[in-house]
């Protein structure tokens, strides 16, 4: 078990950063996924998209250096890097829906054995809206879920999502602080676990069936 929330998030972000390849166009969801940008391996240059209309998004500006005309999809002031481009929302989602985004990293409330994702609504409780998440989950070439393994001790990786879906069967990879799990046609394949957990513990904290191969590795974080 990894109980430190901040540490958990760091592990997840660090591990996902290793999935990104040179030259890829990457869209990071709001919240935990945003942290991935802090851990891109040296020598790897990815291009960040912000769905409000940027390719080539850079880090947050230094205080006092904000450009009021440039925000990210979370509403924060950001910078752009040399080679950046601005465009309108229709074009931005043409990039997203059209498969031009190589990887999107999204948070999740639930994921399941079929790669279904639920992250936009808890009926009667929390109705923020889907924003760009449905298009991102549907259109990106690769959908990586970044989330803590459980919520208040309850599994989030389920046999079947109970919350309304964001997209059906689109998740490729699930990365939590405890495990890296690939979504395959046969089901969820446990690829890696963190050194501070065990296969048994991961299984006990996962409602979905996990396929456990012989060569489960330790997460390199």
């Amino acid at each position: 078990m990894i109980t430190d929330q901040e540490l958990a998030k760091q592990i997840i972000a660090k591990r996902i950063a290793k999935e990104l390849k040179d030259g890829q166009l990457v869209n990071l969801g709001i919240g935990l996924p945003t942290l991935v940008a802090n851990y891109i391996p040296e020598g790897v240059h990815v291009i960040f998209q912000s769905e409000n209309g940027i390719t080539g998004m850079g880090p947050m500006p230094e205080p006092g250096k904000e450009d009021v005309n440039i925000i990210n999809a979370g509403g924060q002031y950001v910078t752009v890097l040399p080679g950046a481009a601005f465009f309108d929302s229709a074009f931005s989602f043409a990039l997203i829906r059209g498969g031009h985004v190589d990887v999107t990293v999204l948070g999740a409330l639930e994921v399941d054995e079929e790669g279904n994702l639920a992250n936009w609504i808890i009926p009667g409780k929390l109705v923020p809206g889907m924003g760009g998440a449905m298009d991102l989950a549907t259109g990106a070439k690769r959908v990586i879920v970044a989330m803590q393994h459980t919520a208040k001790g309850q599994p989030k990786i389920l046999k079947k999502c109970r919350l309304p879906l964001t997209a059906k069967g689109k998740v490729s990879l699930i990365v939590t602080e405890l495990a890296v799990i690939e979504v395959t046609k046969e089901g969820l394949l446990l690829k890696e676990i963190h050194r501070d957990t065990s296969i048994e513990e991961v299984k006990s904290l996962t409602e979905a069936n996990l396929i456990i191969p012989d060569d489960v590795k330790y997460m390199d974080v």
Partner: protein, 221 residues
């Protein structure tokens, strides 16, 4: 053909019960002085089409707080708790639309299309009540055009004919909304003479714009 007008001159255009499109993404690129005008006029029962309902003290959020809005068609209300509260109290109707679908529906109206087929939302709540069409073995939702009586948009540099240049991420929904309303009003951060914007740099041609008003600058736009 005089398009540059005062806010006073715009007043007769607005009526209770109208459908307005308002540009901006979390208030970035939203015409704040036109929002002021709506609040001053106290027009009621508005249907607002916009990416989000912003924050309670900025942009479209202020219309929600002022109680002028009957319905919003939007992708996200999470940043404005007042919208959620009024929705739960049955005082405001919220139609949530995936962001990319919202952009395409607005564009479709503006481009004279009868609708578009999108994979976004298939297998989710979003498909409820919609026609599903299968093309080459893949399912799509038929999403219908979305137009408005008036579009309120914001431009960074606007010439007296209405040609618009948007800085940074303020572009977002503004250019497609300029295509999709009977009357288009642009609030300009800066108004310049005709000819000062290079034809290549025009992002919204002036032929789409009916009225131009001078807005504020920068963050107070």
């Amino acid at each position: 053909m005089r398009k540059v007008v005062t806010f006073e001159e715009l007043k007769p255009l607005f009526k209770d019960g109208m459908t307005l499109m308002i540009g901006g993404f979390l208030a970035n690129g939203t015409p704040e002085k036109l929002i002021d005008l709506l609040i001053e006029l106290n027009v009621k029962d508005l249907t607002i089409i916009a990416n989000d309902t912003s924050f309670p003290d900025r942009g479209i959020g202020r219309l929600v707080v002022a109680g002028l809005v009957k319905k919003v068609i939007t992708s996200h209300i999470g940043t404005n708790p007042v919208t959620g509260k009024l929705m739960n109290e049955g005082k405001i109707e919220v139609e949530l639309v995936p962001q990319g679908t919202l952009a395409e529906r607005i564009r479709a109206y503006g481009a004279g299309l009868g609708g578009i087929l999108t994979p976004t939302g298939v297998g989710t709540m979003v498909e409820e009540g919609k026609q599903k069409i299968t093309v080459n073995g893949k399912e799509y939702l038929l999403e219908l055009p979305l137009g408005a009586d008036i579009a309120l948009i914001r431009g960074s540099i606007v010439d007296e004919f209405g040609n618009i240049y948007y800085k940074g991420t303020t572009r977002n929904f503004n250019p497609i909304m300029a295509l999709a309303a009977k009357t288009v009003i642009v609030e300009a951060e800066k108004i310049v003479k005709v000819g000062e914007i290079k034809p290549e740099d025009v992002m919204t041609p002036g032929v789409l714009v009916d009225y131009i008003v001078k807005g504020g600058e920068g963050d107070d736009n």
